[in-house]
């Protein structure tokens, strides 16, 4: 009898806890701050109209809203959202490598926000990919179906996206646990960090280069200046500076917009961090340029440089690879954070240019009727970016992304105490 009472009491407690949690979530769902800001009005309109356009796309088919054709099956919904977006999300694997593997503590304050950005980028760009698929409800087939296309690079990418999204979520989940105040869960997920980081970097290497390897299957369709056996390596190396320059751009914005959210450590070391990232960018840019030169020598397409497509190629390589190397160099020498930020914009633009070149512009460069995106495709792309920004802001305003968790900070002190004890015993 007594036991039964206990059980009902426990059940009542559990129910109460669930109700409290639901109330907490509901309160967190509410927007903080003013609603009628220019940013909200503009992006809100873009999102609402974008959702309507997406509805039309599902009702009438892809042909009604895109300029895709039998000649150009992939347009900017893939070219921008997938190839550019994923390259920009590369910052997450580069920074987890630097902080967790190489143990460079300097960059620790920006790891969380970078991982968050990477995670959101994958979720939203994978989401945008669903809009672009003809039969998106079959997207589970390569994951659960009996039809595994092992010979397909896209099969590899599909699996890697899924696994990497899980990895990034686990890497970010300590912040979620701190927000919910789940101390035990936080300790569990934090212990998993190392495994997910190693696994995540491996997955990233493969799918960043895999996105390039997709185009290995179209040797006769891509302009010889852009087609080479190096495409996978080029995509991988460029994802390093794409990711790093995106981290710089993103921190430039967040520093202005979320000024009050930023912890003291990050505020103090911010400039140092950006200059360090710029050095990383130079290294990757230089490796990329080197590969481009080898590719040119191997391919021997020197004569093609004097054609319109050749000029365009030179704009990409000289204007957006060689020039950023010099600009970053000058910025580091002068310790000019401004110039670092400017050059990052420039570099990011170059990555956009390169990905669109490979997937859209140099693709079937000989075709009489060229593809250009419809306004709806551009609008939907902007809507996806706007949605991501909203979710990003929501998370930043609630979870400890820029600041260290007080308990985590306390744990940091323990090794120092150990050192003191060791010193005491040694002397």
């Amino acid at each position: 009898m007594k036991r039964k009472n206990n059980d009902t009491g426990r059940a009542r407690n559990a129910l109460h806890a669930v109700r409290e949690f639901a109330r907490f979530l509901a309160s967190e769902m509410k927007p903080k701050g003013k609603i009628g800001t220019p940013f909200n009005v503009i992006t809100g309109t873009i999102i609402v109209v974008g959702i309507a356009l997406i509805a039309i796309r599902f009702y009438l088919g892809l042909g009604a809203v895109t300029n895709l054709s039998q000649d150009y099956p992939w347009g900017i919904l893939k070219g921008f959202n997938l190839f550019v977006g994923v390259a920009f999300a590369g910052g997450a694997y580069v920074l987890t490598f630097v902080v967790y593997i190489m143990k460079l503590k300097k960059y620790e304050p920006i790891v969380r926000v970078t991982v968050l950005n990477g995670f959101l980028a994958y979720v939203f760009y994978a989401g945008a990919l669903l809009l672009e698929l003809g039969r998106p409800w079959n997207v589970v087939n390569p994951i659960i179906g009996n039809s595994f296309g092992f010979s397909s690079v896209l099969f590899l990418i599909a699996w890697h996206f899924l696994l990497y999204i899980i990895c990034e979520f686990i890497e970010f989940s300590p912040a979620v646990a701190e927000w919910l105040n789940w101390e035990k869960a936080r300790r569990v997920v934090e212990k998993m960090t190392m495994v997910t980081v190693i696994f995540g970097i491996t997955l990233s290497t493969l799918h960043q280069s895999g996105l390039g390897a997709l185009f290995l299957l179209a040797p006769a369709k891509i302009h010889p200046l852009w087609y080479s056996n190096y495409i996978p390596v080029l995509f991988f190396v460029s994802s390093i500076f794409a990711g790093l320059s995106m981290v710089i751009i993103e921190s430039t914005f967040t520093h202005k917009v979320f000024h009050d959210k930023i912890g003291n450590t990050l505020r103090a070391s911010h400039d140092d961090i950006l200059l360090g990232l710029a050095k990383g960018c130079i290294g990757a840019l230089f490796a990329y340029l080197f590969l481009k030169v080898i590719e040119m020598v191997h391919g021997g397409h020197w004569d093609l440089l004097a054609t319109p497509m050749g000029y365009w190629y030179l704009v990409e390589v000289v204007g957006f690879v060689v020039l950023p190397i010099f600009l970053f160099g000058a910025a580091i020498r002068r310790r000019s954070v401004r110039l670092v930020q400017f050059t990052s914009f420039f570099t990011a633009l170059g990555v956009i240019l390169n990905r669109l070149n490979v997937s859209v512009i140099a693709f079937k460069w000989y075709a009489p009727v060229r593809y250009y995106p419809s306004w709806i495709e551009i609008w939907v792309t902007l809507a996806v970016i706007s949605m991501e920004l909203w979710v990003f802001r929501w998370v930043i305003n609630r979870m400890p992304v820029f600041t260290e968790h007080p308990k985590a900070a306390k744990e940091e002190i323990i090794p120092v105490a150990e050192v003191v004890r060791w010193k005491a015993s040694a002397s």
Binding site: L217, A220, V419
Partner: protein, 295 residues
């Protein structure tokens, strides 16, 4: 169990007949062998009657075109296959003999090692044992990577549909399995399209070139292009003048990505061990630094 006389006789009759009827059994055996079936298109014999287009249209239940199949007006423009037309005839000028233009069929070539099948991540495109490259529509997720990959630009997508599929010639696979030939071959009044095993067709093609060296270009299109294909062409004029790309190379397309895919397990083994090693070094390095600072 009781078997009456009538049932016994029926059973015996059926068994006996099926034993006597050797022909279908032999064709079944041929189907099970790995001999690929294909088609030889001799463009010198084609008269541009469009019977193949019409037969294909009926066989696959495709929408009737606006211009009837009896009309020649379609030849004014170069046409491409579409979700509603799996094979189309195009007319090309004949430099050797201006009076008789060349008609060339365009349809899936059923490559020996198809790029589309190697690109497909759900195995919706499948190279069958008999030779045709077929399409499993229930598996397809509409990513259109097959269209990017196909060197001949054959798979076509139903952009105007909310429930779209990829459409292309599947070599009348059902007819083939029933022992028949593709509808277009059956319909051809001039035997310009021949059906047979790829080996036999190649032999016929070589014989024709050998016997009429002045008539034919000494090349069988599809013998080696992108690793060979089931559909092959003979022609009196150079193939590049017939809308067929001759710069595709002879490498089977799946080989372009196989190098990358072989590297995947390598990275999966090497990267984690490298990363763990680097991490170990970095951690020890930091410890060493702490030592120095303390001293």
């Amino acid at each position: 169990m009781s078997v009456n006389r009538r049932d016994f006789l029926k059973l015996a009759g059926v068994t006996g007949c099926s034993l006597l009827a050797g022909a279908p059994r032999r064709s079944e055996a041929a189907m099970a062998s790995t001999e690929f079936y294909g088609m030889l298109v001799d463009t010198t014999k084609c008269i541009g009657c469009r019977s193949c287009e019409e037969a294909c249209n009926e066989q696959n239940g495709l929408p009737k075109p606006e211009v009837p199949f009896s009309s020649d007006s379609v030849f004014e423009q170069k046409r491409d296959t579409s979700p509603g037309a799996f094979t189309v005839l195009n007319r090309y000028p004949n430099a050797k003999n201006p009076g008789s233009p060349v008609f060339v069929r365009r349809q899936c070539l059923h490559c020996c090692q198809p790029a589309c099948a190697s690109a497909c991540l759900t195995k919706a495109m499948e190279k069958t044992l008999e030779g045709p490259v077929i399409y499993h529509k229930d598996r397809c997720m509409g990513c259109r990577y097959c269209m990017i990959a196909c060197p001949h630009n054959i798979p076509k997508f139903e952009y105007e549909s909310a429930f779209p599929y990829i459409r292309k010639c599947i070599f009348c696979y059902d007819r083939l399995k029933a022992g028949g030939r593709p509808a277009c071959v059956d319909a051809c009044p001039e035997n310009a399209s021949l059906f047979g095993t790829r080996r036999d067709l190649l032999e016929i093609a070589r014989t024709r070139i050998y016997e009429n060296p002045d008539k034919y270009v000494h090349h069988i299109y599809g013998e080696h292009e992108v690793g060979g294909s089931g559909t092959m062409y003979l022609s009196a004029v150079p193939f590049e003048k017939l809308g067929l790309r001759t710069d595709l190379g002879t490498t089977p397309y799946p080989e372009h990505t196989s190098g990358f895919l072989y590297g995947v397990p390598l990275v999966f083994v090497l990267w984690p061990s490298l990363l763990i090693g680097l991490n170990y070094l970095a951690e020890n390095g930091n410890k060493g630094k702490n030592h120095e600072e303390e001293e």
